[in-house]
Subunit: 321 residues, 6 copies
């Protein structure tokens, strides 16, 4: 049997085997008495829904959600979406399967741009900063959380929801935020600091495992905005002589970055830098959402189907004129 | 000349002298060329507007906003409100004026219940708590901030806006919050802790001087909800072995006590205790507002005039049936 | 075959027979042509979903929604929820089945506290009131509607949705409302009257049969707030010399108890008692909702799943610290 | 001295005497020490602001708000509005002043159409109704409240705020509501009943004296929507055999006529007739508001000044094309 | 086999054949492996859901969505809604099937009133207008778009969603708008023009084919309000000497007819005519929605089921009293 | 007498003469009978309030609002704001006054950056565009409206409210919009076109005379968003072969640039370019507003006074850390 293509390239009737991450697994009872399994499988390029209709009792012992799996199956269309009908499945045995080409990184949905490259760009920006206490603080935060910052998604579901998505979001905001701040003669280093720190509380808000994020106790009870504030306060305490005014401005950026109280910011922007940060964050998330909706839309026309969150259709022809 | 009565008892045509705190002072230019002064004077019982219409150039040198003053004047009605027309004024010379009965405490608008009595009640509640780490944390916070907690108002203008108002608000909430929590079998010690800590960030949000509160830098840029969180986190770090789960629940109480995001809480109540705290805080502020509006209303009918903030009139006859 | 345990204690693979109230019954056509039945069964402790997959044509003749039934079945898990697969079912024949232990009261989902006990507590509170016209009015209303007040749920679905729930809601609010009113020196007998009367219009808004509530014509066209008003006006007319001012305050309590116009109150609270009533009603419903969500949540973590109505997850660990 | 023209025809520099109703009177203290009086004067055609700048101490004894007055004065412009500078004023002595042409009706701001004519039209509509119980009920209500219905304004300030305004509002709504109901084949007699009864509760909500409306106790605590409901329920009880279904529909009309809960209706329209009533009520009030703003606007351009309540300017040229 | 009745008259167990328009067709995979088809069929009187459970592979070749079809089937109830179980289906062969009575018009869901009659009424109204430039403009617009105006529905789904629905909506609004404008002495010809033009942009916003409307590129990117504006501006340019003031008022009517900005009008009504148009449009849509919900409701009681869009139940007994 | 400094540099007690534009003039009656005049005077750098307290009858003949004036006066503080007390004033006689240095441009409040420089930058951006039809269209629009585009303010009062403000807003948005579009790989020429055209309808919405903007008939009845659409449609018609898809995208940008319906956009952004345009427009206006509030704030602290429109105070220390 042939090897299946990358999931982003899967087309109906493709048949074969492949290595994937199984990020969810649910048992359902069919109406005629039998049971079947609904899975989510992902590789570096995309994720798809998969079904196991036969031999369920045995196959469900062979793997768990959160594990890498080896799958035999065939692609088909279901309500206009591609899905994989699985005939055989088992958990990966890393040593043995590596011989057939298994690599963890290939099986985790990831940002399109290489993580090393994004990381280097971000570190370059910070290293070039002239405000010494700010640079020191940022370098410590980045160093302390490097592993998480390189791996995490930016959000559970809404945008940048894949490996490296957090970093991708920060790196793009750093580029845009710096340009905008410079255009307005605002403090671009402060904006850069805001970009890096604005969602840093998510590292404690969420726990991220095997492609799946979940909320921690502090995440639910305290929330990422307040957790970010504490992290910044602690980081500033760790840099001797860190100016109090600068600390207040930094904390203001973290707290106000949702732009308004009804979006969860306990204080609203009161500085030009805070207005820039909230605007750039909002726009980056929005553009990512729009492009993902356009990319995932399988219909023929110039417009996508209805986007529930944005409450509108989106124009797929844009930019080609 | 006779001594004026307490301001709460002032009636039109009362004439005499008295000691007051001058909490605001504004120079206005009259249209016919002359200038006059508008003041706010307070004593322990109330505050009134006062005017200096003659000899302005000389008298305005004699005192500043924020100082205690000795005033000669006569009460009159202006648009249905009592006011004081000042014929003479000078700053207090404490040593000399004490001989005539000047006491700072008599000149500062204050909570009706004695501060020592409220403080003792609060300390009693805390000392009786069975949850040791919580008790230790609260005692430290109370001890560290005793001076402020005894003196401060609860808010700049909306409710409990006088000396001891902060404490009055906490003590009443402690009573009610404990009763409600017990009625529901909720953790009443946790509710009590929430009551004491929920507005603790205001001690850094505001600076309070001579009867006037103003926002600090951190107050404007960080805000009392986030400042309160930091204070709780720091206090918990200072109690060795303070349970992480308890810390999260405490912080949740502080962060969620406005009840919803549009009222400025970055996280919304997720525990029974948090629902109780937000409810008791809201109700206490509302009742205080209603009663003050009724007390200050000078009209004849069963209802007050229009209350702009509550967007309604209030019933003055309630409770007498 | 063994007798099944109480529904609240049912676990997967329990098998046996029991008496229940069937509160809903729906026929569905399966895709492979066959039909099956979806039922809701309840006993005093809980309600569960049940399915009849075989012998449908015959079994559906054997009972109707709203009837007590005798069921043979086996418990299983379906999407994490317990359900009962029914192999045999028939309506109860009271005389015969009483021999096997059938009792109506055991088959209707009910408040945890005994109804007689709650009723006695409420009557005790009213009998102790010093305001004579108010006491007379309340005793008449309670006497006239005793049967309904003892049996009804407090709401169709949102909170206290079981036998005795209406009474449970009133009794708890009476306790809390009295405490709060006393703490604030408000008219606690007026608050108690508001507690008893605030939802009295629901007795005409809803028709309640066999565990199922439905809206009446007046319920839909007039609504419980306005129906409650009429009932209070009529009751006051029946007490000779009932003071007009007291009547207005009572009616105000009924009309304003939702707290604001957007929640359906045509007038908003204008007295301290009305603010207390609206606050206590809201809090009691919210706490009931939170505790039910926590009790029904079957997941492992510290938090419940997403609560659609409250738009948040809830903390299950609260109170244990 | 000449007699002043009707107030609607007053122009700057007109000088003379006239009879008016003084509907408000306020004493203000000028900054240079002197006092002056601000009055509102009205006659059948309009109302204007008036000022008494000299001889205040004596003149303020000569009349009170709510009295008819004889005034000497001169018109002038103040910030683009016409006002009357009063040189002399006294209360009317009816017997003596009638000789000079004083008539109460000429001094009260009134609807443009004669009240008798409007009343006759309304009675004609009701008498022609074929639904007997409805006709009987309406005739009783109209007869019982004839005096108020003929005299009252429709609202304190927003629209139809003059003598006969209530009746004018009902008569025009009766005309339009009937036409619309017939066009849609709806029950036009039910709509007519809704028109007549929708604001009937205002007769108890407000007390109306000498051109000034004020809220009653029941008006503030119960409100006109609920008071209207009670009036309808009582009226229906007084018609033997009044159908319950019809009563529910009538009550629904009264309760839902504000169209939505946030506008104060505790139930929202659920019948075609209720949708028509809410629509016709809203439109009639809006048109009256627009036309009054256009009539009162003194500026030159095609548009009025900013209308605060409607939050827009209005087009004065409309309809002339 | 007998011929099926009109769909509006279909009852469970009716069996036979008929001609319909198939307006949607969707293939679904059943859980036991088999596939089935879900269709929407319509005739002049109603539309129903249909299912093909057997012989799917062959039958799905026999027709497409958007085609007229000949169907053999049997009616049944599914969750309280009537549906058609199809045993055989094929596309219509017009020539041959006309012999058996096939007529396109009978198979398309249509307004209840004959289109020719509605069109004649509308042309009559316009021809009688005295404002010459307005009459000329309207006649041109009507003539240019006659074909579409006669055929189109008024909206995709919310109201008047069938052949001739657009015309039905205009004709009824013309009747009501004229009556209301005359009652208020407003410019009724201007209102009539607003009625005819208010949704004219929908002719470019939507593309309508075989009973199915879809949004065009300009429809999605520009929208019918702005498209209508352009059409009016162009039409006015085509009438020499068309007054600029009249053009502005017309354009204002088109732009403001949703009544407020949050409903999509970039300018809000500033003339009496604009208030009338917005009110009449809203009411006509609402009444149509209410009546359709009542007509389609299959339940027994006095009220319909929950109406999701209107967020309420509706009273079915209204008007019968 | 000395010449006064630029208004931006005026300090209390400065005395002398100067040339200004008088942009408003209002006569007020003082309470002691006398009248005085309130003026707004501007020069290139700022605008101030001025008062004429003496010799009013004669001086008010000497000039009108909208004229350039020669003023003698003295600066003073009034409620913390600088104002000019005018002792003498007359309209400018250009020929004669030029000898003393009068220049129209010096007397009109203007953008800080030279207009010629901004215009050249904008024309440079457009000339460099590679999309030929878009470039042709933009060059025509810019050429046709050059005079207005160089002179007009961006808005009546909220931001960029001075000569050249419109151009300043466009030029800055062009810079930022291009950078952001390039960063996201969006169509930056389309964004540039959107920037230039988004407010183009304001050229017809407003009439601008002597430093004062007022709404035109089309401005009030049609509004700048719809007027901009018509202008774009006409301009596209004037470029032969202008692609329909491009036209739709351009029109979408103009219509959607307020970002949401409640802000007045009849369609909401559906393309990445439209999201960028709305974001950049909002941010540019916001930053201008913040900086103007900071510049105009005369207080001592780190924060401005309360900003009514933004509903917050603003941080003046930002950026200096």
């Amino acid at each position: 049997m042939a090897r299946l293509p990358r999931l982003a390239a899967l087309t109906p009737d493709d048949e074969g085997w492949g290595f994937f991450l199984c990020s969810s697994k649910e048992l359902r009872t069919g109406r005629s008495g039998g049971e079947f399994l609904i899975l989510t499988l992902q590789d570096i390029s995309a994720q798809v829904t998969a079904k196991i209709l036969g031999d369920v009792t045995r196959l469900q012992q062979e793997f768990d959600a959160g594990e890498f799996v080896r799958v035999d199956g065939k692609a088909s269309l279901y309500n206009g979406q591609i899905q994989l009908l699985v005939s055989s499945i088992r958990r990966v045995y890393p040593e043995q399967d590596r011989l057939e080409g298994f690599r963890e990184d290939d099986c985790v949905l990831s940002a399109p741009r290489p993580i090393d490259e994004m990381w280097a760009e971000l570190m370059g920006r910070v290293s070039a900063m002239t405000n010494a206490p700010l640079r020191v603080l940022l370098l410590r935060v980045l160093t302390d959380h490097e592993a998480q910052l390189r791996e995490w998604p930016a959000a559970q579901a809404i945008h940048h929801a894949y490996r490296g998505g957090f970093l991708e979001h920060i790196v793009k905001m750093a580029e845009v935020g710096t340009l905008v701040a410079q255009a307005y003669g605002a403090n671009h280093e402060l904006v850069l600091a805001g970009v890096i720190l604005h969602d840093i509380g998510k590292l404690q808000e969420l726990a991220y495992e095997a492609g799946q994020a979940s909320y921690t106790r502090d995440g639910n009870l305290v929330g990422h905005i307040a957790l970010g504030l504490i992290l910044v306060r602690d980081a500033a305490s760790g840099v001797s002589g860190f100016p109090l005014q600068l600390r207040a401005e930094l904390e203001h950026l973290v707290l106000s970055h949702h732009g308004s109280r009804e979006h969860g910011s306990p204080v609203e922007p009161k500085t030009v830098e805070a207005f820039i940060l909230a605007s750039v964050d909002e726009l980056d998330a929005r553009i990512h959402q729009v492009r993902r909706a356009i990319a995932e839309d399988a219909s023929d026309g110039e417009f996508t189907g209805w986007h529930r969150r944005l409450a509108r259709v989106l124009y797929k022809g844009a930019g080609e004129s």
